[in-house]
Symmetry: C2
Subunit: 404 residues, 2 copies
Amino acid sequence: MAFHFEILKKDETTGARLGRCHTAHGVFHTPAFMAVGTQGTVKALTPEELREMGAEIILSNTYHLYLRPGHERIRRLGGLHRFMHWEYPLLTDSGGFQVFSLNSLVKISEEGVQFQSHLDGSRHEITPEKAVEIQEALGADIIMCLDECTPYPASHEEAERSMELTLNWSERCRDSRRREDQALFGIVQGGMYPDLRKRCVEALGGMGFDGYAMGGLSVGESKERMLEVVSRTAPLLPLDQPRYLMGVGTPLDIARAVLQGVDMFDCVLPTRNARNGMLFTKGGRLVIKNARYADDDSPIEPGCSCYTCRHYSRAYLRHLYLAEEILAMRLNTVHNLHFYLNFMGEIRQAIAEERLKDWVKTCYAQGASEEENDPGEPDPWGSSFPQKLAGKRNPAPVRAASMK
Amino acid sequence: MAFHFEILKKDETTGARLGRCHTAHGVFHTPAFMAVGTQGTVKALTPEELREMGAEIILSNTYHLYLRPGHERIRRLGGLHRFMHWEYPLLTDSGGFQVFSLNSLVKISEEGVQFQSHLDGSRHEITPEKAVEIQEALGADIIMCLDECTPYPASHEEAERSMELTLNWSERCRDSRRREDQALFGIVQGGMYPDLRKRCVEALGGMGFDGYAMGGLSVGESKERMLEVVSRTAPLLPLDQPRYLMGVGTPLDIARAVLQGVDMFDCVLPTRNARNGMLFTKGGRLVIKNARYADDDSPIEPGCSCYTCRHYSRAYLRHLYLAEEILAMRLNTVHNLHFYLNFMGEIRQAIAEERLKDWVKTCYAQGASEEENDPGEPDPWGSSFPQKLAGKRNPAPVRAASMK
């Protein structure tokens, strides 16, 4: 089936949309969170477990799979879906982001990007054509244009030059694609400059992609700045196509971006934090190694329906974590991803019932009043609530309740 | 329900028995293999996965749980079954073996054994009474007497002194037990000396335990020597009680001990090897990292019904292993434990159908003709087949087929 995106409902008072995205491997509902399966596996979990917790689409990283085990090998073995036993919607990134973030010796030219493998130092070049070729070999349902993730901070001139390069590469990606069963998304760059983002959106729109991502965010700027860029960029994107905010973020980051009209998200936060013993709850973060949980017979989150909360106590999870047991990573990952996917389900439900704005406010209030929060560590729920959304000019300080 | 052991069938031509063991947490069938859950988890797996692959009883290590998270904590949290979400038969060892093997500063006296924690250097003493107290707090269905694992090699005098100490400790364990819902097993020591093993069996039998283990084996002696001791000790043990060979072994070690009348086994081999990428198949070992599997789309073992073989290729498993993914350990462990548990099921079936001896011969022939075997590494199926069983004085060299 050809890729297409249906908008089921538009929120009246915000930019939020409820949607359904059809791909060659089935449907996913938006707003959607994509768990990250970097090397062809969402770390510690099986595809069955992902499905059981409601995952409809996951993401894998082109850069990693290109280097190991190699995209041609995966193609010979029947493509990435079959290779990793995930027969549902799948997205691959272009590889560009990892090339830039995992390598110190990167050479960018108009032609493409040269780099050395972080595994063995071997030399490689990825051009826009090559990025498409690799992703066609992998065979994901949604593939991404090669872009340059504009560094932060960047001057207007630097951001403009970088954005122009991304536009050039995007056009070449579009022209080199051969498979019609894959959707190709363009990526909006332009740094923190609204005029550049606007120009980029218009140029990409003219090229005609199946969806549009916002890149170059969550790269060191403040959350307010990030949300500002999203809020000024998202409304410019074609109304009837999916919008994807790459690499974002905390649950509240996601909720706030949904309010601006974003449909798709990915982030390593739930999975990586799980492996580090940081668990998401409606009341805020729970650091499982804390001594206070040593004799705690309750689940991570009372009432949570995930496999971990149904069967294991905080005391046991703390023991597994301190004993460095593999099961700790599994059970923690199950809970955190369940939390994220359940969170997305609640967002969709709230849009359907026309109460998203109130729902987000309630969420925020819950996260901020959590007594378990350790004031010395960053709050996984994200930074302060946007004043505009809160509906008052001077909201109470976010963490006041827990810092008394 | 009180602990009891039913013998369903005795093999006519060997010492093998088919049995059913009733415990406070249900039944397990013998001959049985117990997966090892050292720190209150069979590494990488959930209890549901263990049940799905046919595990009826597992083992956990008193030494580790005593040090972390502490037996009193586990007791407060409802006992080990509840703590680890395993509501089926469970056995704990006495802790003695780990005290000796994980610590260099061990002081043994008539009273008990003093040692320093391998975790933090803290000082501890375990006496026979303490070993029972800890195991009663953990609450396993079968608990073990504290014994001294006689070192190898040991002179007759040393082995005798050590055996006498074990007898003294065994009696004190018996006298200090308070819980009636737990079975207490005695452990036969005596080194490699038949006269000492015999004396030990007789003395332990006089004390009246619920079952008997053979300890101090698989400690460096040859496999032939080990089987020799088993073959001379097992027949002396009470006919109507379960016999447990501790820490053994490869599939063929187990099959050969079953022929001598052993009912229970435990070993880290399937789980530890899995984490090291060594997979068991009917045809012998498969080392998943080998380059020959890079493009191999077949499962570990064609026809195997385990979750891993049903869904994943050798190529994918090799990729996961080289990428050091957690899922590699999970999937490999699933396969190896399935292999072991399936192997035990086949042993039980063969006893029931009065064809055990032939079945073991066939198994052995399969393992020896495996072309995948790498002659440079030890064969997981174990050492040479006992001449007596093979029925000829000079059997063909074991690995001849694969070494041509």
